[in-house]
């Protein structure tokens, strides 16, 4: 009866409201450095078989296919869109953008998984111990660690991650360190920690560390930060679409409810 329709429409409302949540978060982060938008993927639920295919009909005919009613929809997964964000010039020599796939590896609290996280946010600072740290959260230390000695000027970071600088009194620049990039076979399988940090999971596979530019990884771009890859126009179109789909499902609920009301009032008093 119409109860199935009620429940199917309710699954639609529930899934679409999660879609609205995800779109709202994408829009809220349209100005977040190196933010990667997410997308909700929908799937149909199981089907209730009212009549098996191949059964005999009332008049002896054999049905070539059965009768099945679907029970609604659900969210299959949310998929992180790992596409490149645009590069914004900041004129800060310690801002580094990654052009192409890959992440910076940083040390986070040891209670967070294995104490390692990955980020594409390249806003680096030098902390009190002269270490290169991420400018987000608690100042997560870059791995492998890079130490910038006091008094070094003209810090240059090459596309392949080689850091050179001019030490006080010296005439020629010297190499200070090397930034490496970690890649994953399935970057969409990383878990999102917030604070532009990602963490390795069984689904993402182990990190593959390389010099920037090797093994298909991205190259580094000094003085630039990667902007959010959220396209507000796209998100707004999705939001409108989702809202309408939500309203459609509420129409199903109303119709099913009216059908039940009609049936409930069948008996004349």
């Amino acid at each position: 009866m119409a109860i199935t329709a009620l429940h199917a429409a309710a699954t639609g409302l529930r899934a679409l409201s999660t879609d609205i949540d995800v779109i709202a978060n994408n829009l809220a982060n349209s100005e977040t450095t190196a933010f990667k938008g997410s997308r909700v993927n929908f799937e149909d639920l199981f089907y209730q078989t009212l009549k098996q295919p191949g059964t005999d009909g009332s008049t002896g005919q054999i049905a070539p296919s059965g009768i099945a009613v679907g029970l609604g929809t659900r969210i299959g997964n949310t998929e992180i869109d790992m596409s490149q964000g645009s590069m914004q010039n900041t004129n800060n020599p310690l801002d580094i953008g990654i052009q192409g796939p890959g992440f910076f590896r940083v040390k986070v609290l040891s209670t967070l998984g294995d104490g390692t996280a990955y980020s594409r946010n390249g806003a680096f600072y030098v902390n009190a111990d002269n270490e290169l740290v991420l400018g987000v959260g608690d100042g997560y230390q870059l791995v492998p660690p890079v130490t910038i000695p006091t008094g070094v000027t003209n810090i240059t970071i090459s596309q392949d991650g080689n850091i050179t600088g001019l030490k006080a009194g010296a005439e020629a620049p010297t190499t200070i360190g090397q930034i490496k990039i970690s890649q994953f076979v399935n970057p969409q399988g990383l878990s999102q920690l917030g604070g532009s940090l990602f963490q390795e999971t069984a689904a993402s596979g182990p990190p593959i560390e390389s010099i920037p530019g090797d093994q298909g990884s991205g190259q580094l771009l000094q003085n630039f930060l990667e902007a959010s890859n959220v396209d507000p126009v796209n998100e707004l179109v999705n939001l409108i679409k989702t809202q309408r789909a939500f309203e459609l499902n509420s129409q199903s609920i109303q119709t099913a409810d009216q059908a039940l009301e009609t049936v409930a009032n069948l008996r004349r008093s």
Binding site: A5, F42, D44, G70, P101, N249, T255, T262
Partner: protein, 253 residues
Amino acid sequence: MLYGMYLSAAGLIASSYRQDVIANNIANSETTGFKRDLALLQQRPTPAEGFGPLDDSGDPMLDSLGTGIFASPTTVDTSQGELEPTGNNLDIGLQGSGYFGVSNNGQVRLTRNGQFLVNAGGQLVMADNAQETVLDPDQKPIQISGTLPVTIGSDGTIMQGGKAVDKIGTFNVADPAALRKDGDTMLSFPQDSALTTASPTYRSGYIERSNVEPTTELTELMEMQRQLEANANMIKYQDETLDKLVNDVGKIS
């Protein structure tokens, strides 16, 4: 008289069944690769049509009396869904007939949902289930090595680092009506039916949207609501007539 009431009840149940199917279509208006179900109804054959005249003395009028309505087997509208750009090159929308083959522990099923990912083991899998491997034309899992970027050509060829690695297979079954929806956008097919190779156009960076058309579904939903009310009213009228027959006709005052 009571016979008519049962006919109206059958109509009411049929309308309600169609509402269920339409509600499911609407719920899946955002499901990638979803094909809408058509809830078709058919007239139940009259006794004369089904079994021949009941006996020689049968009343021809009764023999040809309509016998109501019941649900036909569910049919799937396999028309093309719109292709929506996603920018993710492992999203593939198919243009034309054919289904992706997906294997889960040896069980092969078909789908139009082309949202793929590479899992931790380097196999091309469905985005929602890392156990469901996408098959190449020889029905073997597709292995991708390393992290070099992958591009997919319009014939399904997977290119990595300028070299063709493998090809994403698409298949057809002899009788599309035999496909059964399993949920999770998967379709299972009878074991005795062989898969043939299909050659649709592969659009990398696109997904095929659900082919549910809100206008059609909502119109049908309204139509079903009224049909249901009409049948409900018929039941009431017949009840009224019965009331008269039982309580008023032959009343001894």
